[in-house]
């Protein structure tokens, strides 16, 4: 405006309405080459900025000073709302002045009027200027010549929503305060944003409505409503804290966004780092009892750039942040807004425990999930060096290249068994454990024996291995250990024999004995504790599970043939024993994992859980593509079982009584007596109720063989398989039918008494999957049965004729059968069943030549001594069995 002359006299050209008045400036000759005075006439609205600026100039004409002073006063009064409509017409004028303001008007007239002027006239002139300015500023002149650039678009949007823009100049940040600028967004085009100060008309009314709602949501905004123009609000440090904690979410709930300047968008997040406190953690067991880990909790700052990476704060920076009285902190040459909740958390961590000891299991959990719970909040774990190493090792256990099989192992591990063995060796090598949940028949026992030998040969074992299993599997374990690890001592801790001192190698016990004698077992230093058929401990509250937990060892392995991964609480019970603390407490597990996974809302939770559990759970199915080709078409095992006390007594009595008679009998009656004894002994092995003809007698707890059969059937059913159960005796088949019905298992019973049509219907029913268990009591040859649906065959008792047994087995295993078949021969330990079986194996030729039609006729030809040798109960004895009711 320098072209407007202010050093010459100026005058007000009053008009009606006063807003249309003009100001005439006169230029003096001394500054211009042009000697003629220059006249510049401006409308009032345009003259206002010229006049307000003119006061700063030194050589201002007195008349210009008067006009300028009056203009400034007018603006102050208008800014205070001191405008009124004129009595008549549309014009605005200054009005409603307080006494103090009236005084200001008079004083201005006196001060600017100058000597010799008429005070009344000057005051009249001042009041004219006031009204002219008031009208020029308040009325919206039509076609006015001059406008401020900011004073754009007088219409503006009619309907708006509110948002708040944070402004924070450096000097405000220094004292921890911020300004909120009220913005209006056009409802029709939210990207059209206007500051509240620039909004008028309907848009302003709409903005006020939104602001009223916002202030109801976050009352800190109320001072805005007390303003004449609710354009900006300065927040003190504590109000900034309130904005961060309460304001932002509350405002968002009513649709009011808060926008932060880019410079303040640096983000602070907590991160935890897991550090090992051991000198050389990987040389010994990472997770031995002495293992020490610590969480180092600290904050990390991520710069305002989206792609910047987070940088951990130093201890000094953390301390400065915690000590700050305001949520706005200067960090690394930039300002950062710290969420007060986070600052409180940091304060707690720093004052109480900057780094907290953590259990090895929690360290593993952190390594595998990438998050850790600190003070009830999930915090991202920054993988420190030791954690990374741990993560790699644990996550890599399933892919480690296979170890050579132990030298002491008498037998060859199949490929998948070697992988399982390597996996267990790796986990136990780290002081952790695992749950091997392969299908039945894949050789879990053998794999475990290999692990035992491996730990011994590598010098890792610090004691014997304790195997806890169902009673029905004791014999089997012992037989398998003797067979595959002939050099290892194996003893039972069971019945009357409960001697642990000097034990090395394997100690076998049952869940029942373990429960009653956990104290003794817990006092012994074990290297490895194995829970076979670990689904027995799935109820973590049961005393079996509780007692099992009291037995310490270097590492733990669970074996189970049932798919535990489908039942989360069962999985928790097993894994919590194998790697204590991995899944957290039962309640925490339900909250953190089970409930969200069952609700199925967040696939990320399921994924993280899988990552957490995967390294500790290995399950292969017979049908897996990598497993099936390795399996032989037919696997035959002798499943060795013991006897209950009742069985032993019956057996010994029968042997004693029969042998006395046989030794005194003549050849004709002798033959009959021998056959009767053999039959009786086989029935006792099957079940006392069978021998005693108790068709309705109590069944559970009296026969170890029946218990094993129940185990087998349960496992087979859990796998979704089906099974043929062969017995020579219809009576036994009926007992089994009754017992399985009690257990809710559907069966079909085929015996020689059925008509051909009936048999066919039953075979069809089985093949159609109507019942998973098919009980057969007949010689299978020549009946043309095709039972290829079955993938398991159980021989409850022995035919002592390999040809007959093979024929029976072949009912299930046929050419074209895609699934491998597993054959279980139930053999009672130390009895005639086992002895004849051994005889058959040893004298294969003899068996085939002499026993071609079955062993029994030939057995009648044995001498008394040979016969006594064959039937006398050996090794087992009463001690081998649990009393009835033992678990």
């Amino acid at each position: 405006m320098s072209f407007v002359p202010v050093h010459g006299p100026a005058r007000l050209l009053l008009a009606d309405p006063p807003g249309a008045s003009e100001v005439e400036f006169t230029g003096g000759g001394d500054h211009d080459e042009d000697t003629a005075p220059r006249l510049v006439r401006m409308p009032m609205r345009g003259a206002i900025p010229v006049l307000t600026r003119a006061l700063r100039r030194e050589e201002v004409h007195r008349s210009v000073g008067l006009l300028a002073g009056a203009t400034l006063l007018a603006l102050r009064l208008v800014a205070e709302g001191r405008v009124r409509r004129a009595e008549t017409g549309e014009a605005w004028r200054i009005g409603g002045l307080s006494p103090g303001e009236e005084e200001s008007v008079r004083r201005l007239a006196l001060a600017r009027g100058g000597a010799g002027s008429d005070p009344a006239a000057v005051e009249t002139l001042v009041r004219s200027v006031l009204d002219a300015v008031a009208d020029a500023v308040t009325s919206r002149p039509v076609g006015a010549g001059w406008r401020e650039p900011e004073d754009d678009d007088p219409a503006g949007p009619d309907q708006v929503t509110v948002s708040l823009r944070v402004e924070a100049p450096e000097e405000q940040l220094e004292v921890g305060s911020l300004s909120l600028v009220v913005q209006a967004h056009d409802v029709e085009d939210p990207s059209h944003v206007v500051d509240a100060a620039d909004l008028g008309g309907a848009g302003r009314v709409s903005l006020l409505a939104g602001l009223r709602e916002a202030a109801a949501a976050w009352p800190m905004l109320e001072p805005l409503l007390a303003e004449r123009v609710p354009d900006r609000l300065e927040l003190e440090a504590d109000q900034v804290a309130s904005l961060l904690e309460h304001g932002v979410p509350a405002l968002r709930s009513v649709g009011v966004d808060v926008f932060w300047p880019k410079a303040l968008r640096a983000e602070i997040t907590p991160r935890a780092r897991v550090v090992s406190r051991q000198e050389a953690p990987l040389q010994t067991g990472l997770f031995g009892p002495d293992a020490l880990f610590a969480f180092d909790w600290r904050l990390a700052v991520r710069g305002p750039d989206q792609d910047a990476s987070a940088v951990d704060l130093t201890d000094e920076e953390m301390a400065a942040l915690v000590a700050s009285a305001t949520p706005i902190v200067r960090l690394r040459d930039s300002w950062v807004v710290v969420d007060p909740a986070l600052a409180r958390q940091a304060r707690r961590r720093i004052t109480s425990a900057p780094s907290t000891d953590v259990t090895p299991a929690a360290a593993v959990r952190a390594a595998l999930t990438g998050v850790v719970e600190v003070d009830g909040e999930e915090v991202e774990v920054h993988p420190g060096a030791s954690l990374l190493r741990l993560q790699e090792r644990v996550a890599g256990v399933t892919s480690t290249s296979p170890l050579p099989q132990p030298a002491g192992l008498a037998g060859t591990l199949r490929d998948y068994q070697r992988r399982g063995f390597t996996w267990l060796a790796e986990l136990t090598g780290m002081g952790l454990g695992g749950c091997l949940a392969d299908d039945m028949g894949l050789g879990k026992t053998l794999t475990l024996i290999a692990l035992h030998l491996h730990r011994r040969e590598r010098g890792l074992a610090a004691g014997p291995t304790l195997v806890v299993c169902p009673t029905s599997l004791l014999g089997n374990w012992e037989a398998e250990v003797r067979r595959f690890a002939p050099g290892e001592e194996v003893r039972r801790f069971h019945g009357s024999r409960r001697e642990l001192s000097g034990s090395d190698g394997f100690v076998l016990t049952t869940y029942g004995t373990m429960r009653r004698d956990a104290a003794t077992l817990a006092a012994h230093p074990w290297d490895l504790v194995v829970a076979d058929e670990a689904q027995h401990v799935k109820n973590a509250k049961a005393s079996v599970a509780k007692q099992l937990r009291t037995i310490g060892s270097s590492c733990r392995v669970a074996l189970t043939g049932t798919p535990v991964e489908n039942d989360l609480s069962e999985l928790w019970a097993i894994l919590d024993w194998v790697v204590p603390g991995l899944l957290g407490s039962r309640a925490a597990f339900r909250k953190v994992w089970a409930a969200p996974i069952e609700a199925g809302v967040d696939p990320e939770v399921t994924r993280r859980f899988a990552a957490l559990v995967e390294p500790f759970l290995l399950r292969r199915r017979k049908s897996d593509p990598g497993i099936a080709p390795e399996l032989p078409a037919k696997t035959e095992t002798d499943d060795i079982v013991g006897m209950t006390r009742e069985q032993v007594v019956l057996y010994q009595t029968l042997v004693r009584d029969s042998m006395e008679q046989i030794e005194r009998a003549d050849p004709e009656t002798r033959r009959g007596l021998v056959l009767a004894m053999l039959t009786g002994l086989k029935q006792i092995c099957n079940h006392p109720a069978h021998y005693l003809h108790q068709a309705a007698g109590r069944l559970p707890g009296r026969s170890a063989k029946l218990e094993l059969l129940e185990e087998l059937v349960a496992t087979i059913l859990a796998e979704g398989g089906s099974v043929l159960v062969f017995t020579q005796y219809v009576a036994m088949a009926r007992l089994l039918e009754r017992r399985l019905a009690e257990l809710g298992v559907g069966t079909l019973l085929l015996h020689g008494g059925l008509a051909a049509g009936e048999r066919e219907r039953m075979v069809d029913a089985f093949q159609a999957g109507l019942a998973p268990v098919f009980l057969l009591s007949l010689k299978a040859g020549g009946t043309g049965l095709n039972l290829t649906r079955a993938d398991h065959v159980i021989h409850v008792d022995r035919w002592w004729n390999p040809a007959v047994e093979d024929q029976a087995t072949d009912r299930a295993h046929r050419i074209g059968q895609t699934r491998p078949v597993q054959v279980h021969r139930l053999v009672t330990e130390g009895t005639i069943e086992q002895r004849v079986g051994q005889l058959l194996v040893r004298k294969r030729e003899l068996a085939e030549a002499v026993l071609g039609r079955g062993a029994e006729p030939a057995l009648t030809e044995l001498s008394d001594a040979e016969l006594r040798d064959l039937v006398t109960l050996t090794s087992g004895g009463p001690g081998t069995s649990d009393s009835p009711g033992d678990a």
């Binding site: 206002i48 900025p49 307000t52 600026r53 006061l55 700063r56 400034l72 007018a74 603006l75 102050r76 208008v78 800014a79 205070e80 709302g81 001191r82 405008v83 009124r84 409509r85 605005w92 009005g95 409603g96 008031a134 500023v137 308040t138 009325s139 919206r140 401020e148 900011e150 004073d151 100060a197 620039d198 008028g200 008309g201 302003r204 009314v205 006020l208 409505a209 602001l211 009223r212 202030a215 109320e222 805005l224 409503l225 007390a226 303003e227 004449r228 123009v229 609710p230 354009d231």
Partner: protein, 201 residues
């Protein structure tokens, strides 16, 4: 003449909750004072909640309502309200705080605004003398029960819509919003010019 403000017809009501705003209570006090005796007032109130009145119509400075028929002819009661003494002062008071207009728009008349206006010499609520009633019913005294019913309903209405009161005192909502807008905009503009002048110093 602008379109009249037509207030929703009030259905029959056993009891009407007492008004919550100070202004509505003050208005109803003025109505009580204007009544000739207690019986008229009771009858007027009963009629107000009888559901037998038509819609109340308000135009600047006055209101009217059709009442029940007497002798085959419908009565028509009306009231003229004394205009507000100084609208400029009221505009200035509303413009003083953004929250005042926000509250008016949300249907409430802040007590603080009423008090501030009174201090500035503006009584928003007319006193009994400011209510001049008339009716076609040829009653001996005014306000008759029809007029009292009209006044009572006006009191209830203005409890939830302060613009009813302002219109009775002579000005529409649109007028007030525009005036407040002009004053506010001028204030904002003047403030900006002052800031500009100060910044350049």
């Amino acid at each position: 003449m602008p379109d009249p403000l037509v207030l929703p017809r009030l259905p029959v009501a056993r009891a009407v909750p007492a008004p919550t705003s100070w202004a509505a209570r003050a208005f109803l006090r003025s109505v009580e004072e204007s009544a000739y005796d207690e019986a008229d007032l009771r009858e007027g109130r009963a009629l107000a909640r009888s559901g037998r009145l038509g819609s109340v119509m308000v135009i600047a400075g006055m209101a009217s309502v059709a009442g029940p028929a007497t002798a085959g002819e419908r009565t028509l009661a009306q009231v003229k309200v004394e205009p507000l003494a100084d609208w400029g002062a009221l505009v200035a008071e509303v413009a003083r705080r953004a929250g005042f207009l926000a509250a008016l728009e949300a249907g409430s008349l802040p007590d603080e605004l009423v008090e501030n206006a009174a201090e500035a010499g503006v009584d928003l609520v007319p006193d009994a003398g400011g209510l001049e009633t008339g009716c076609t019913c040829q009653a001996w005294v005014q306000p008759c029960r029809h007029a009292l019913a009209l006044l009572t309903q006006l009191g209830w209405h203005l409890d939830t819509d302060p613009y009813v009161l302002l219109l009775l005192r002579g000005r529409t909502r649109e007028w007030l919003v525009a005036e407040v807008d002009a004053v506010t905009r001028a204030a904002a503009y003047a403030r900006r010019l002052l800031d500009l002048a100060h910044r350049e110093e």
